[in-house]
């Protein structure tokens, strides 16, 4: 089954390009560490999922590029073409001249309706190229105007036009200390709208990835390209083909569907966090060895203690005692999960024991622990890492950052600052209040796990 990717705004397009690059370089690599047959099956599956074959033999990404100003798309198209290994179709992008001015209302209420037909035509064309459509992945940031506002509008359109397809929104959360001053408003508006139309939100926070770049990748002068490459690696570890049923029955034919089934049992809880270990500079890879027990132990503690990366994990945090009455306070800093998915890739993957993730004390009480935890094991190694483990988690991972964003936005809203910029494009105070209400509900639900 194929996934159509919609890249929205500067961030969406910059990351989208890195994702396709990473996927392509992974399947071209010779570090699969598995049988030739397995490797070929992996390559075919990835190509079917993300690329379409053209007469020239160069794989064409199944993607639609959207931006309200031309510079980023033109850069993205040319960078892809220059690689020689893959490219974007010449007819799959839509751009305008003026940008959205970091204004969610401009993206949603003005650009959205104005360009709906043109954009949805491009999406329809890409969807028709797929023999079997597995759903949509949108990539956007929520701080600006296009990715956030137009992104929310496009997601709604996707939902209306493809009511039975899966929609996964990959959303990038901005640095806490402003990239954009009105980022909290834009974020609140985006998240609340996405919650109504998409199936799940897969989140990356710039602050977290920045730390990974600084402390694990040892990059001195971190650029957005570095950040985007780490994000692409993490997304690749989730979206590359994986065996979902118990070994040997081929790669998943319905990646997004499997993801949703594993992780979103209840519509109120749709925020997914992502962790991937190990993460290190490519030059260190030949000198490092890993064991599955070690990786799994670290990943589990990262889940429990809500650690953002494999360094600095707080090992003191423990799950609550199994006999604990549900009304007794859970231990401080303990991250309760609704559902978790662990994806293991690499050497001897079948020897890996994930029993520790099935511990019922990790989870909220209203789901059977067998249903709450899923594991996908794939012997084919990913992106030169001999062993890698990814965790996609529907848990309280994002509770604090979400609460912080809503708090700051509320603070600004109370002083009415910047509201005139939104009302002039049709987003009124009542609309803001509705969005705040939606998100406070989400926060409350996650808090009371």
């Amino acid at each position: 089954m194929s996934i159509v990717t919609v890249q929205l705004g500067q961030c969406g397009n910059q990351i989208g390009h890195e994702v396709f690059s990473a996927l392509c370089s992974d399947i071209r690599g010779t570090h699969g560490l598995c049988s030739k047959k397995e490797n070929e099956s992996y390559q075919d599956s990835c190509k079917e999922r993300f690329f379409c074959e053209e007469e020239s033999g160069v794989p064409v990404a199944r993607a639609v590029l959207v931006d309200m100003e031309p510079k980023v798309i033109s850069q993205t198209l040319s960078m892809a073409a220059r690689s020689g290994h893959w490219k974007y179709s010449n007819h799959s992008h839509f751009c305008q001249k003026q940008g959205s001015g970091n204004n969610w209302a401009n993206g949603y209420s003005v650009h959205g309706p104005r360009h709906k037909e043109a954009i949805m035509n491009l999406v329809q064309k890409e969807a028709e190229k797929c023999e079997r459509l597995g759903g949509f992945l949108t990539i956007m940031s929520m701080a600006g105007g296009t990715g956030s506002g137009l992104g929310a509008f496009v997601t709604q359109c996707l939902r209306d036009a493809f009511p039975t397809s899966f929609i996964l929104n990959h959303v990038v959360w901005p640095y806490g200390t402003g990239e954009v001053i009105v980022q909290n408003y834009n974020s609140v508006l985006t998240l609340s709208h996405l919650y109504h139309s998409s199936d799940a939100l897969l989140v990356h926070e710039n602050d977290v990835i920045h730390k990974i770049c600084a402390q694990l990748m040892n990059i001195k002068q971190i650029s957005f390209r570095d950040v985007n490459q780490v994000i692409a690696h993490q997304l690749g570890s989730v979206f590359q083909p994986a065996h979902t049923a118990g070994g040997g029955s081929g790669y998943s034919r319905n990646p997004l569907g499997d993801l949703m089934e594993a992780l979103v049992p209840h519509p109120e809880f749709r925020m997914l966090g992502l962790r991937n270990i190990p993460q290190m500079p490519e030059s260190s890879l030949p000198y490092s060895t890993f064991s599955w027990p070690g990786l799994i132990k670290h990943l589990r503690q990262m889940l429990i203690a809500n650690a953002q990366m494999e360094e600095g994990i707080d090992w003191q945090v423990r799950p609550p005692h199994p006999g604990l009455h549900p009304l007794h306070k859970k231990p401080l800093h303990f991250n309760t999960s609704i559902a978790n998915l662990v994806i293991l890739r690499g050497k001897d993957v079948h020897s890996a024991d994930l029993g520790s993730f099935q511990d019922p004390s990790l989870y909220t009480s209203w789901l059977n622990p067998q249903d709450a935890f899923n594991a996908w094991k794939t012997p084919r190694a990913f992106n030169k890492y001999e062993k890698s483990a990814a965790l996609v988690s529907n848990s309280q991972f994002l509770l604090k950052p979400l609460d912080s964003i809503v708090g700051k936005a509320w603070n600004m809203f109370a002083s009415k600052a910047y509201l005139h910029q939104y009302t002039k494009f049709g987003i009124q105070e009542e609309d803001f209040l509705d969005c705040f209400t939606t998100l406070e509900q989400v926060i409350s639900s996650y808090t009371n796990l």
Partner: protein
């Protein structure tokens, strides 16, 4: 590509504008090696034909500016048309008269405004037609005289009426206390009312600050303290390469303003990892419609000849942007309240450098309670000519308040004695109420800043959040 039109009004406006076009051409020539018309150039220039240009040998075409030159006396515009930039403008972009406005806002606004209204609208329309996507008008003028101040604000009004969706950025040169035009306070306050009501963003500039910057640079060069030589064309005050023409007295100062405009628009013209367009500047820096006065500062003012830039020097650049001597008005943002701040960096600077410096500088700056992280950032990969990197900081800060208060005081000094009032009141359409409305508009503005200042330093009480029934 977002496109802009520059409207330069009056002597000051045209002299600054002239410097802007010169520097813009040099910047694009340095980046655009092939000399062909490209997207970046389309932001300010239009392509007319492909003949080889004799004068501007960097380009293989005539880069006609998207500009309107307006002056009510001919001297300045004529000089421009005889200078090295003559081919950049064509006669259809000019509106001139003979006798000037006599330093009288009313003459500029009411008499010439009326007289030239249709002419101006027609020429604006023509210029706008050359843009397939017009985003912004830049008005350059001074506040203290008659044409720039009066006719300039008349044009501002016109732009709002005729092109309501296009942003209006105004670069206004404010008169200093020792201005030699006696009626400059009247002209300025009358113009302020128009700026309050019709501009999207105003970048106030004071000659005193420009003068101090120029002096500082001269001192640096002459003192020889630096050890290594300063790169000539890196001076923010230099008219790079125009060694043949006589350097006029205000040229150095005007170059600073021209550089400000170049840096402001750089992210719209060139690529970068985090673009910052003009509409984003207006969106992020204007929390309330009337509080749209932005204090600007530019660094560096010059580059030393050695090319390697240790990050210490990069950090110094950020610190400088917040120091008094780099501001383009006589104000001290560091000790007042920030409503919002934008940093537009050009050159080989990455997001980690930005973050590090914001973290470093934040503790010493006071931000209003509802905008504690009020930073807007942009990264443009193309540095200005002669530099490896540069920074433009735009702050919406209550430090403009003293400037406005002083202006109001100077106005009141004259107004109480009714000095020179008759020159204005004898103009058709001018009444006493024009003056009282103007000063009241200014007072209201000052009051808005006062209210914000009052929140400074007080205990921070966050409003309570919405409660959800569980």
């Amino acid at each position: 590509m977002t496109q802009s039109v520059v409207v330069q009004v009056g002597q000051c406006g045209n002299q600054v504008g002239c410097r802007f076009w010169d520097l813009a051409l040099r910047e694009h020539a340095a980046v655009n090696k092939k000399g062909m018309y490209d997207e970046a150039l389309s932001s300010f220039f239009r392509n007319v034909d492909t003949r080889v240009v004799c004068l501007l040998t960097e380009f293989k075409f005539f880069p006609f500016s998207k500009a309107l030159l307006i002056d009510m006396e001919e001297g300045v515009v004529n000089e421009i048309l005889q200078g090295p930039l003559r081919d950049v403008f064509d006669s259809k972009q000019l509106i001139t008269d003979v006798s000037g406005s006599g330093n009288n806002w009313a003459v500029g606004h009411k008499i010439y405004g009326c007289q030239y209204r249709e002419n101006i609208v027609e020429k604006l329309r023509k210029t706008a037609e050359h843009c397939d996507s017009l985003q912004c008008f830049f008005i350059i003028h001074s506040m203290g005289g008659g044409t720039g101040s009066g006719l300039g604000t008349f044009v501002l009004n016109l732009l709002e009426e005729e092109f309501p969706e296009v942003y209006r950025f105004v670069t206004s040169v404010y008169p200093s206390g020792e201005d030699d035009v006696i009626t400059s306070p009247y002209n300025s306050v009358l113009a302020m009312k128009e700026l309050n009501e019709h501009a999207d963003c105003v970048l106030p500039i004071e000659n005193e600050s420009l003068f101090e910057i120029v002096n500082k640079i001269h001192q640096m060069i002459n003192s020889g303290k630096l050890g290594s030589t300063v790169k000539q064309n890196s001076l923010v005050t230099s008219s790079a390469g125009s060694a043949k023409t006589q350097v006029k007295p205000f040229d150095a100062m005007n170059n600073i303003v021209a550089n400000l405009l170049l840096n402001l628009t750089s992210s719209a013209r060139f690529e970068g990892s985090l673009n910052m367009d003009l509409n984003e500047i207006s969106m992020n820096l204007v929390p309330f419609p009337r509080l749209h006065y932005l204090v600007s500062s530019l660094t560096p003012l010059y580059t030393l000849a050695d090319v390697n830039v240790p990050s210490r020097r990069l950090d110094q650049m950020f610190s400088d942007a917040f120091s008094r001597d780099h501001q383009l008005i006589q104000a001290d943002p560091k000790h007042s309240l920030y409503l919002a701040c934008a940093l537009l960096v050009r050159g080989n600077v990455q997001v980690s450098d930005l973050r590090r410096n914001i973290e470093r500088l934040k503790p010493s700056l006071q931000f209003v309670s509802w905008n504690q992280e009020g930073w807007k950032t942009g990264l443009c990969s193309v540095p200005p000519v002669g530099h490896s990197h540069s920074l433009l900081a735009l702050a919406n800060n209550t430090c403009v308040k003293p400037t406005f208060i002083e202006l109001k005081d100077r106005f009141m000094k004259l107004y109480k004695k009714k000095a020179h009032l008759h020159h204005y009141l004898q103009i058709d359409g001018m009444e006493q109420s024009c003056f009282s409305e103007a000063v009241s508009s200014l007072s209201d503005l000052i009051e808005e800043y006062n209210e914000l200042d009052a929140t400074k330093g007080g205990p921070r009480v966050d409003p309570s959040r919405l409660k959800i029934a569980v």
